[in-house]
Symmetry: C2
């Protein structure tokens, strides 16, 4: 499986120009899976919900349609972040598209910082898509900090996690090694670069350093912290079917859910559910 | 809270000598919490269950009694690994002892490699002990690879995780940074050093590198990969009450259990429970 990671620097609000840029950078690229950043066609720092609403599109809208064309040209699937309008709601979503059209979207479950006042939280869990016979799970950016996200994907059989991101903190890239190891899964984190300061005083600098991590924690591809980048890696997703870390230890079947306390947290310091 | 980490190199089967060594190394040390390695009085590589049984002790046995004396001398609590006999069972346990006596044990839930044929798996979940007003959770060695272990402790209000270990792989030390960040908790991993080859051809080299990680991922103390070591760190456990990574993102209350799929894994690639 040939995986391509396209780290970009979108211009805020310039959807056509960003799509053109993506098209140009992917010109001639053949791949089974191309992963792009979160909100890669719109930019990130919306001032308010009205401004976001003006940029949001349906899951069968023009952006998705153009990306389907690009998927056809690449001969594989694309996973990319966009602002999805559905009814009166707007999600920070990732679309999965193939040569034959869109396969669906993932709507970000854990919203970060100001996203909470802009986007609606996703309620569709963490989906796994069959991409040419390979189960690929999706999560977006800040989902990384919740081990439950990657775990949910691995438990549903995902062998690869496509992870569009707009990271401003610097923790995630290293943490993805842990996510890969603890689930024995491939992780493909594609971040953006550049800065935005559309809200005065709230300058955001995106940390780049997109990376692909193998199930044993080896970093197979690593981008610079700045500048757009196109990275390739050839992976064998079947390696992620082997969940053993020793001959007798399987990271998923060794789990003991009856011994865990994973309910809700109460601020008084105790969880409410067994 | 003054935390002391004692990285040791036990001699297999020499319980008295190992206890003497610990006593000598802790001579004059004052601390609120002292963490020692897994199985720090017996050594690790038991050939069979009979040999293990001969070294195992009750939770009110001589080893725990001696450690209580050391706790009194240190003026605080000790967490250390030992082989616990209870009825016909033997657990890979960690005891928590204070100046006034033993507080209880944690029995390792996730057994590693040959431990599966030697020890009985713990069935008491992941306990949190009140040590002088600070909730301290316990896990042992290989529990690190299951994010559910540290998460269960954090959700029960632990501010510090005492983590005795006998690590032979090299993944854990880095992964503890992720465990600390994702739970905004202090982690105190105390590993052993040295080698054992009591089973011919199955030489084990323990990787040392004990480390204490703060809730923001900062490594506050880091031991060498070889040689015994005594490390000190002064921590403020209240820092781990602050679970926000941004003003609006709390790593525990932002969790969305209804969106996760954390049931059992079926080898056919789907989980059986919602």
């Amino acid at each position: 499986m040939k995986v391509v990671m396209l780290q970009t620097s979108p211009e805020f609000g310039e959807v056509d120009r960003n799509l053109d840029d993506i098209d140009r950078r992917l010109e001639g690229v053949q791949a089974d899976l191309v992963v792009l950043p979160e909100l890669c066609t719109t930019g990130y720092q919306f001032r308010d919900r009205a401004e976001l609403g003006a940029c949001a599109e349906a899951a069968d809208g023009r952006t998705v349609e153009r990306m389907c064309g690009r998927a056809a040209a690449c001969g594989g699937h694309l996973v990319f972040g966009f602002a999805e309008r559905a009814g009166g709601r707007v999600y920070n979503a990732a679309a999965v598209v193939g040569p034959d059209g869109p396969l669906g979207t993932y709507r970000k479950v854990h919203l970060f910082a100001d996203e909470k006042r802009l986007f609606d939280p996703g309620d569709g869990g963490f989906p796994v898509f069959d991409l040419g016979g390979v189960p690929v799970g999706i999560m977006v950016c800040f989902d990384w900090i919740f081990p439950e996200a990657a775990r949910s994907l691995a438990l549903q059989g995902a062998l690869v996690i496509a992870h569009p991101a707009n990271l401003v903190l610097r923790y995630c890239q290293d943490a993805m090694v842990t996510r890969a190891i603890e689930n024995r899964i491939f992780t493909v984190t594609v971040n953006r670069v550049g800065t935005e300061e559309r809200v005065p005083g709230a300058r955001l600098t995106f940390t780049g350093s997109s990376r692909l991590v193998a199930p044993d924690g080896a970093v197979l591809a690593d981008a610079a912290p700045d500048g757009p980048a196109l990275l390739y890696a050839e992976i064998d997703p079947r390696r992620a079917r082997e969940k053993h870390v020793t001959t007798t230890n399987h990271v998923l079947t060794d789990r003991r859910p009856d011994q865990y306390r994973l309910g809700r947290f109460n601020p008084d310091g105790t969880d409410s559910e067994p």
